[in-house]
Symmetry: C2
Subunit: 218 residues, 2 copies
């Protein structure tokens, strides 16, 4: 599997968490192996699509046997870089930010908040899940002294570029961005955007075109 | 623009909220028109991609003039079905659910929560932004008596299929799903999934492959 890193398309990568989720569920239910037909039916994709996706990463399936659920689950986990712990900081401890800090399934997968920052004096000093919220003015100092893998941005759009640029200077590897800015052109850091309003608008479109776009439903 | 509904690909639809977001910002900043070159640079896409996307819906641009920002903003809004109000109910008033109820930018765009439901007796009876949380046992009764456009599901995976099937029986148009189930095979209702953990895993992948996958950054 040594050279897969260079050629995998983003479309394939985007489907991997879904494989991981389904395999995790099978594992949880004590299922040791599954045929590509069964797994693909469960996931509502074609068997050939699934085989193509997984072939990108090596030879997982075996003719007449199917997939070893536990092995495939762990291998996909490794590809997704889930076999290491990730340290997270939160910037912007509003409604969404607090909800993310309290989302225990992140921690179960090795994503652990180690600090949180806000500009609002009413929020600074509060404790959320054992973490005392720090003043945003302490962010740069904190980044100098600690290894941070991922900064979660849940703050207003107008602040997000400035904060993202500060983060990018300090060796943070990724930004998980919930602000409505796209953070175009921030160097040296990977950005993954979650635009909740965009997602709601897509649903709005689907609803408005319900009769003609049945293929949207999955 | 009468017959666009039949032929627009989901890939194009998924980009529309982003156009809407950028145009809204231009409008807010008092910019009346913009060339396709400028807008596409701002959005970090090619001018030809942008023209192709927008040509799906009619003739918006004018040679030598560019786009009329306000007109394009409103037309894309109409395509996204944002010119009508949508009534929302929330099912599962946990951390994420409460954060969504408190997210004021949804309401600004015409998405208004009218009720919320939970199974936890500690949460039932609480008030969030003026809405008293009802017992989940009252859901079906409520759906019989009220017009609900969108049900927001923010509840554990194991409950989500049962609730989704109940919703689908009662003329709700869409489900905005934050549970980790994909809700495959729910009939008569459009589903839009927001899988936060999947998004975090994709960021995790990008981080782990940072050196070889610069093209992921945008």
């Amino acid at each position: 599997m040594g050279d897969y890193k260079k050629k995998i398309s983003l479309a394939v990568i985007k489907r991997l968490p879904r494989y991981h989720r389904y395999l995790g569920e099978l594992l949880y239910n004590g299922i040791a192996r599954i045929s590509s037909k069964e797994l693909s039916e469960k996931m509502n994709i074609t068997p050939s699509q699934m085989r193509q996706d997984l072939n990108n990463f090596g030879c997982f399936g075996q003719q007449g046997y199917g997939y070893n659920v536990e092995y495939l689950y762990h291998e996909i986990g490794k590809i997704l870089n889930l076999d290491v712990q990730h340290s997270l900081i939160l910037i912007g401890v509003g409604n969404i930010g607090q909800a993310l800090m309290n989302y225990i399934s992140f921690e179960k997968r090795g994503f652990k908040f180690i600090a949180a920052f806000d500009a609002n004096p009413k929020i600074v000093g509060m404790t959320v899940r054992g973490i005392k919220i720090s003043d945003i003015d302490c962010l740069e100092q904190f980044l100098k002294q600690n290894d941070v893998d991922i900064a979660v941005l849940a703050l207003p759009e107008e602040k997000s570029y400035e904060i993202a640029n500060t983060i990018a200077k300090h060796n943070v590897k990724g930004i998980w961005n919930f602000s409505s800015a796209d953070l175009v052109g921030i160097k040296n850091v990977m950005v993954e955007n979650v635009h909740l309003t965009d997602s709601l608008m897509i649903l709005s479109y689907k609803i408005g075109n319900q009769s003609t776009n049945k293929e949207f439903h999955y």
